[in-house]
């Protein structure tokens, strides 16, 4: 029986101090700065999105505050031939895959065109999956298609701790196991599914151990340590590419904010519970490490923040200036060829 590593894999402690030898990539300043910049940009995007929502200019939005290391770590080692199948909380990973901030704003602003990713890298990626956990069977299907077509790509799906209670997750993981499909299932275990605590979600000690049910390896990783997430994902990806199948990766982190802008977490959790987690969060952690190990300067930090905020603001402006699509558009993409009855119904709505 596979024995999921119940010891959490971690490279940096909360202060950014290495607790074991760093992998090669993590000794390179540039690589770490790229990871850091991506996390900072994600945080800036989140802040802007929440602000837009609060002022009525965006729909319900789920911030990834405090969970940036997961998506960034995962996407940073994915290749062009891989396919990303995200939950609704992996904005950072989506951006790293080439989805533009304008597209993300459009999506969360309630416009389907936000899912028509222009970037070649993201062209085959899936839009976010709202029905929790239902992306896992699809990811298994993507993996099957990749194998069947002789591609060397891997299907990478991300979902939350709550998603691990869905039958979809389990059925898909079981199929990945029995068909040895190149799929990596990543769990963003942010300790909460809206108001449900992780320990009320399942009696399993770790979420990674759920892989035992499917006979595939499971790993627990510190989800606030982008180096660890990246390293573990890289291993799972090479394993998948080499052929012996899928891996379940549990990334342990914490949801610092509300579930979404529609949620008020103060109804069900105390601030005192949240506070200590601010000390663990991934952006600060990597900054500490960059400062200590690579002389990351105040100027560099300020330039990065400015640049991130500027790019986010610019994207928001483009989004806000984008007119809604023509009402007819809702009919035009239902089928490759519009059936007669739909064309008749479309006659009801204005042409532009």
């Amino acid at each position: 029986m596979p024995d999921p590593n119940v010891e959490m894999i971690r490279y940096l402690d909360a202060d950014g101090t290495p607790v074991q030898d760093l992998p090669d990539f993590a000794r390179q300043r540039d690589t770490l700065v790229d990871l850091y910049a991506a996390m900072v940009r994600t945080r800036a995007f989140d802040a802007k999105a929440v602000a837009l929502q609060r002022t009525g200019r965006l729909g319900t939005y789920g911030s990834s505050l405090g969970q940036e290391a997961i998506g960034i770590g995962v996407a940073s080692v994915m290749l062009a031939e891989d396919v990303f199948i995200p939950s609704f909380r992996e904005h950072g990973a989506q951006m790293m895959r080439g989805v533009s901030m304008e597209e993300l704003f459009l999506y969360w602003g309630g416009d389907e065109r936000g899912n028509d990713f222009a970037a070649p890298l993201a062209r085959r990626d899936f839009p976010v999956c709202v029905p929790v956990g239902s992306q896992f069977p699809q990811a298994a299907g993507v993996a099957l298609a990749l194998v069947q077509k002789g591609a060397r790509g891997v299907a990478v799906a991300v979902a939350g701790d709550g998603a691990t209670s869905k039958g979809d997750f389990y059925e898909a993981m079981n199929m990945v196991g029995v068909w040895q499909l190149p799929a990596v299932f990543v769990i963003n275990n942010n300790q909460w599914a809206i108001s449900l605590r992780r320990q009320d979600q399942t009696a399993a000690e770790t979420l990674a151990q759920k892989s035992v049910a499917a006979g595939i390896p499971g790993v627990v990783v510190d989800g606030n340590d982008v180096i660890a997430v990246r390293q573990v994902t890289a291993q799972a990806l090479s394993r998948a590419r080499a052929g012996p199948g899928g891996t379940l990766i549990e990334c342990v982190t914490y949801r610092l904010g509300d579930h979404t802008t529609s949620d008020d977490a103060s109804r069900y959790r105390e601030d005192e519970e949240v506070s200590p987690h601010w000390r663990q969060e991934p952006v600060l952690r990597l900054r500490n490490h960059l400062v200590a190990a690579h002389g990351w300067s105040k100027d560099e930090e300020e330039a990065l923040l400015r640049e991130s905020n500027d790019s986010v603001d610019k994207a928001a402006e483009v989004y806000l200036a984008t007119q809604p699509d023509r009402p007819r558009a809702m009919f035009e993409h239902m089928f490759a060829q519009m059936p007669t009855e739909l064309a008749q119904q479309a006659g009801d709505v204005a042409d532009d």
Binding site: G59, G162, G167, Q201, M334, L342
Partner: protein, 326 residues
């Protein structure tokens, strides 16, 4: 007698049912300490305890299946599916089990459960949060499907659903949760599940609707009145089995019928009503039956949602077409 919004009326009915009957338990995602994402169960865990107000894992199949098992074994579970768009995994348990226990055991085992779910659009919610698929459920033999159109109806119909000895799907038009309030008396009086409600008497045409669409229907009826057209408005309330007699009688009186629903046109529940009229009241029809519905498209994201929703204007257009028909 208190002014209540629909969400308050639902909460009040749940509390009343739990007070009256210790076998009534609530379960669903976030129904406990969070009080439900729409606050339908706010305060109930404090009042009735965590063993009767149960936060479930994120497992719609199990929510339905656990409710079925518990109901068959003598509880009266009221399970919540957080949004109708996430109800599909519960259909297997509803269709293959809940709806059949009484029949397949010839009455030995029964399944007095309620499955609540908010449904419908118009509030700018994210994708998968605005569906209206009541027709799929209404096609399943052995289920009752109910949808209230006002706080008082929500209160009385929900009590009836919980007390009913058979499974009931209770669909709550979330657009109405806080859209207005009315006087609701928390007297424990249930409303009947086998009669529709005539919201307005009229002579010229009948407009049939349910749930949130009654707002637009009533608005349209007001405007029509201004134009000298007297519309009879029927709130179906219970869709399955529905009050065919009242609808037929009304249309046999008025000779004209417009049916309104938010769900897509094709094989929507409006089809059943129109078909019933074509079958049983044909000779009374002075004009074609019109259906004003959502389109056969995916419910659009918020920016185009308004173009999908049946509007007062579209209802008026249909009503006028029906009146002008000759």
């Amino acid at each position: 007698m208190t002014e209540m919004t629909m969400i308050e009326a639902i909460r009040t009915a749940l509390a009343r049912a739990m007070d009256d009957d210790p076998d009534v338990i609530l379960m669903g995602e976030d129904v406990g300490i969070n009080g439900g994402v729409f606050r339908a169960t706010d305060g109930l865990i404090q009042r009735f305890g965590a063993s009767r107000v149960r936060d479930t894992p994120l497992s719609e199949t199990a929510i339905a299946g656990v409710a079925v098992g518990a109901a068959v074994q003598g509880l009266r579970p009221v399970a919540e599916i957080q949004f109708m768009g996430f109800l599909y995994p519960a259909i297997d348990q509803l269709a293959n089990h809940a709806a059949r226990f009484r029949n397949r055991t010839r009455g030995r085992l029964t399944c007095p459960m309620v499955l609540r779910a908010p449904y419908g659009g118009g509030i700018g919610a994210p994708e998968h949060h605005s569906e209206s698929m009541e027709a799929m459920l209404a096609h399943i033999p052995g289920l009752r499907v109910v949808s209230p159109s006002s706080p008082a109806k929500a209160y009385g119909l929900l009590l009836a659903a919980i007390r009913d000895p058979d499974p009931v799907v209770f669909l709550e038009p979330k657009r109405l949760y806080r859209a207005g309030s009315e006087t609701v008396t928390d007297d424990g009086a249930a409303l009947p599940l086998d009669t529709a409600f005539r919201l307005r008497e009229g002579a010229d045409l009948t407009i049939v609707g349910w749930g949130a669409m009654l707002s637009e229907v009533n608005e349209a009826a007001d405007q029509l009145a201004g134009e000298g057209i007297s519309a009879e408005v029927i709130d179906l309330a219970t869709l399955k089995p529905y009050d065919r007699a009242m609808v037929r009688a009304s249309v046999e009186k008025t000779g004209r019928c417009v049916i309104v629903h938010e769900a897509p046109l094709t094989a929507g529940f409006g089809a059943e009503i129109a078909a019933d009229l074509a079958e049983h009241s044909l000779t009374s029809l002075l004009a074609p039956v019109h259906r004003v519905t959502g389109y056969d498209t995916v419910m659009p994201y918020p920016r185009l949602e308004a173009h999908y929703m049946p509007s007062t204007e579209r209802i008026l257009k249909a009503a006028r077409a029906v009146m002008e028909f000759q």
